[in-house]
Point group: D2
Chain length 349, copies 4
């Protein structure tokens, strides 16, 4: 397999890691050569994740950069924020391509990072080097680069839903309000009362209001696309379900725009991009329409009565919001069809 | 039991009806004298609702106004919108007190009703007569009146969350955006794919965007409280859970107001009202905090960065959003303690 | 309030503890005089359980036996197994009445306890003294005693479903198989992957097969009732819901017995006992029929084709399986109506 | 694509139909040439199933046998029982290969069919001709035949869990009891209170006790494998989740057999069969381990104390219990690798 890309995954014992594995196992151009966990090296991934028993049969490797380099060409770092900041420089220096799924390299401004993430920022030259892989928007920029910072789950849903209207000048960025809702898997596999079944089942709640670290990421991109500073109000909620993000976005419309016009604008903007689907007039997307897949569905409700538009976008937070988009970025980086290995139909019901 | 109020419930085979029964069975001052269903009269309520087997042992009555009058003093009409419009006039004419849980008598403007509800409006004199029973706000107005229109579930959560700030002039009503989320029981017991378990489980969706009939109800009250016309953007979503509404409300703040100031304003506004609880700073309410109870919890996040405040309110849609507030209105109408029969602690977990 | 019983609750920060509080707050004959937590004394219960904010307003006490004795007459110990074994002797010695919700005093044989619970057994004289409070069966025995051991959740559902048939000799105890399913709250508030929302949602699993510590408890009672040694096969499963236990029980029938005969046998056996309801022929109970209440519903399917009967029973594990039955036992101990404070209608839907 | 098999799907608007489409879209050797619905012909499948919007872009065909024959070589009939009985004879006569997912051709005895299914039986010669496609057991028999009857969901989980022990004579078939639990999607897309979200959420129930039409199917196969008549007690339950079946099976063991011996027996029996996985000692499978995939996982608990073994098996009811096994049967029928198009890793969490 001369053309096969050898891939390692660091952080295999998190939800992002096992989701990468689920998709990469079906990818025609790659071979998973190392599945890495700092905490569980030497054991079988299937011991902690029985769904992978008899599927992933190699023992977990530890974090050993020279060994990773020997076995692989590209590394996905599905590590917690703070860990990637320290690990990625070593991987890049060793000559590996890196796609980082932590948030450590998304903000270009180290001071802003430290304010929102409460960790020391990574080296500024790496913040500069990292290409922000919002695939449908910056797909050209990730081609052939060695280092991609994969977008956050909330920013992906939000930005794909807003950028066409912002770029077209149809909405006023100063009026933007984003009400975001996520399934519980977004909180990861760590333990806590918030993710305790008995407390989260039959429950819906807001958290980190105005304090979520994805806020500056969204504002950084919108500021770039709007060509002027954008500040947003952004609220996150937890939904009693495992997967899915739905963002409801509000903005004042410049002039009169109908739903049909929004649909046309977005359809043309995303023309040829398989993973963005526009809902027909009078329909708004549901998270289950994209469950387990790399799709992002977007719908509109322009309201002449209030002069505002309501834009609704949905993704699977673990796929388009993490592992799927990371693989899409790998495909684009390598010059392959962006959909390779990602063509799973959503699972319904 | 000379002082006992004799109560009938019409629409006993809906979720509002059985929730009325759950609370009324424990109410010290009333006796349920007739449980009425147009579709199931002559049968046992426990046949369709096994949780009531051996608890409600009288057969269901049909809708027979003279018989209702003979057996009871007050009627709760938990009937579908359109049905109440025709039935309530007869009940009132027979001399019964009526608390209506349909939406038919909430809007004062019959034309507006017909526009949003797509039914013929009830007689204008009854629209005028109906007192809107938002208990913590208009509790004085319902005292001794014969006819109360019980508020909708979404309006209850929204209005309790907004009115203190609107009345104080702290927020700009022109900037109001309400993002509302409801458990599935709000859609009632009728059948349909939207409430099909396999389609709604592990799903989150927006519906009726800008089209929900609770919009004019909210605007009518806010217009009254603000003293000038208020128009809102209001979005409804379905959450994969049975009970609970959470409203996330956004508005621009007039001047600088801290969370502590909002907490103080609301604490004073609702002082002495048992069923409204204000969350401490840095905490936002979760629907499970009020599950099965008549409480409404409210929390705040004022954001100097954006000049907006985010207000979060939660209720149980079937209790404070329907049956519980209806009983609270009955208590107020009769001059009793508003909490009589409603002092159930939320069920957790 | 001269006739008021003063009650303390130890273990208030577990699910059993807050469920005791939910019911005791509505009990006409008691006053909660101390809410006790070894881990959180000095703080407000509402800090960890926001549903109780503004409802329980006294600070948590620590475990101080003399103080408990001073403030209260009866103590519910909703403590983990192993803790009660050490604490209860002190409480009894201080002259308090005790109703213990841990499993520490259910088995009469200390060696059996140590085999299944993996802790040191409590003193044998206390194992002898503890009266096993399966309320509908041993209600006479708990009257006026100072110390009641409250049954386990699974044993309550199982034994209420089996004892009438076993006592009547209608089923062969040697053939008994019990397939039990529980909501996740049965696992308590402790953290772990098994109760992690993302892992337990949309999941169903068997656990502790043949190893659950409730097995010897069930066998001890059935052996007493059958008058000969009974051994059972008993399997526990976790259901993705918060509350509810359903036991499906299989046994060979001695002779031919119809469903109608089983229904008659059980109806007569439980005549006058409010909290046991027998399902009509062709209906089997669902856990939601008893949600939040102290009921146990039982249904039957006798099968002439196989010579076996299938008995299905349901309870709310936190109520009839814990807090509710404990209060029922208090009522019986005090000579009160067993239903005092427990007359909550199940919450549906 | 000279070697491509042209495939039609009848019953595309049911859950079995859309699950067939999800897998067949990724199958390398086939082309979906017609997607058929009697009720929705002429419309887009994506209108009723938005997850398929822009993925399935051909309009739905009606049921037109000559047209089906013209466009395709093989038909999956995911039609309701009773419909297949009438339709399949026409398809076979037209020269099409048929894999039927209804239950109409599973029982060899037409009288037994009519007793359990309450419909007229299909022609006896077709009952004789249909090969029962329990893939891991009768994979050799389906090779090259034109007509396969796909097993039921419960029988698949039950029979894969029991057959090795029955054939080895390790368990006594006369003592068999099967306690089966299914996610709600097993009840199909039809409307009803049982599948109403508000009634099924946070609920667990038994249904059709001793009356499920899968009972004679299980007994027919066990009778064949045991070489003597087998009668079983079989109970079905609904779990508040969408997908997954777990069967807990009980039988008396002939002689003493350890868990390790059961594990070895089954591991050898299923050696080389990718889709059956045996759980290690002390572990029992959870439905989530196989979610969305064609796997069946099996675990054991032999109990010397009672002389019984408890066998636990799990499948995804829509995959291994329906669409996945149907495709596996197609692969075997065509002489292909049984796993073609089915190699999706379970989705977790």
């Amino acid at each position: 397999m001369g053309n096969t890309l050898r891939v390692a995954i660091i952080g295999s014992t998190g939800y992002g890691g096992v989701e990468l594995i689920r998709f990469l196992l079906g990818h025609p151009n790659i071979q998973i050569t190392s599945v890495i966990s700092s905490s569980s090296s030497g054991s079988l991934l299937g011991d902690g994740f029985p769904h992978l028993r008899d599927i992933v049969t190699d023992l977990l490797d530890g974090v050993d950069v020279p060994l990773i380099r020997e076995k692989s060409d590209l590394v996905f770092t599905a590590t917690p924020s703070g860990v990637s900041a320290k690990l990625v420089p070593q991987l890049l220096e060793a000559g590996l391509k890196v796609i980082d799924l932590s948030g450590d390299f998304r903000l270009k401004d180290g001071a802003l990072y430290e304010q929102w993430y409460k960790h020391d920022a990574p080296p500024q030259e790496l913040l500069n080097e990292a290409v922000y892989g919002l695939a449908e928007i910056y797909g050209e920029e990730v081609r052939d680069v060695p280092f991609i910072s994969n977008p956050g789950c909330y920013p992906t849903a939000t930005l794909l839903g807003l950028i066409p209207a912002v770029k077209a000048g149809w909405i006023d960025p100063a009026t933007l309000i984003v009400d975001a809702k996520s399934g519980v898997s977004g909180a990861g596999r760590g333990l806590g009362l918030t993710v305790h079944y008995s407390e989260m089942n039959e429950n819906f709640l807001a958290y980190k209001v105005n304090q979520h670290q994805h806020i500056p990421e969204i504002e950084q991109v919108l500021t770039r696309e709007a060509g002027k500073p954008v500040t947003t109000t952004f609220t996150t909620h937890l939904v009693p379900m495992t997967r899915g993000i739905l963002c409801t976005m509000y903005a004042s419309v410049n002039g009169n725009r109908t739903n049909a016009e929004f649909i046309q604008l977005y359809s043309e903007f995303y023309k040829g991009r398989k993973f963005v689907r526009i809902s027909p007039e009078g329909k708004w997307p549901a998270t289950k329409e994209v469950w387990g897949s790399n799709y992002c569905n977007i719908g509109f409700a322009a309201d002449a009565r209030t002069g505002r538009v309501t834009i609704v976008s949905v993704i699977d937070n673990l796929v388009k919001g993490a592992a799927g988009q990371a693989i899409q970025n790998m495909n684009l980086m390598m010059g392959w069809n962006e959909a390779l290995g990602l063509e799973l139909t959503p699972a319904f019901p």
